[in-house]
Amino acid sequence: MRSSKIIRTIVQKLFPFIMLFGFYLISHGHLSPGGGFQGGVVLGTAIILLALSHGIEQTEKKFKSRWLNMLEKLGILTLIFLGFLGIFFGWSFLGNFLPLGKPGEIASGGLMLPFSIAIGIKVAAGVSAIFYALIKYRGEI
């Protein structure tokens, strides 16, 4: 079933702003309210909105489910790899080996920004992978 032209146009115009808001939440997680989980869910809802309005076939051309599944595993492996890198540089597991920087800047907080990015990508891919599975194997839009 295709949605009406109004809904499709509005979702098309709104989609980049939702993605931008999600990336803002992820990248400013250590400076302002937000973080990896919340930003990842916002990114996931952008993909879900696109799938609800344009149909699953149109969306799968841009966001392939194979890539989403791969990104999810990649995010979690990145987290564990960064944790072991802490041991390698002389701290504990998940230790903060990067310089802390000046408080209030984007580059402050050491490992927090890579952690947030990895968690955000992983959560976005996971939420949309659940949605894809629900649509593809049980019912259709």
Partner: protein
């Protein structure tokens, strides 16, 4: 053997529970950990958002295992919905 082990563990838990009854958790005297986070969180982790400094700095294990929980749930949903192929 199993029963005595179970009873010993239950007794230990009961003793710990009885000992912890008279601790006042809202009392400002017992807020050492919270006060430490508020005072030293910025210097330890370098993040001005205290929530992030706790869940990505002090409690990073919790965040890691939480993401693994989400991963396992996604795997379970996809596995159960796909059925036999």
């Amino acid at each position: 053997m199993k029963k005595t082990f179970f009873i010993i563990i239950m007794l230990a838990m009961a003793i710990l529970f009885i000992l912890s009854v008279d601790i006042e958790y809202g009392n400002p005297k017992n807020l050492d950990v919270a006060n430490y986070y508020i005072e030293q969180g910025l210097y330890d982790t370098g993040a001005i958002n205290l929530v992030a400094s706790i869940y990505l700095g002090y409690r990073a294990y919790d965040t890691l295992i939480e993401t693994i929980v989400l991963f396992v749930s996604v795997v379970g949903v996809v596995f159960c919905l796909r059925g036999k192929k």
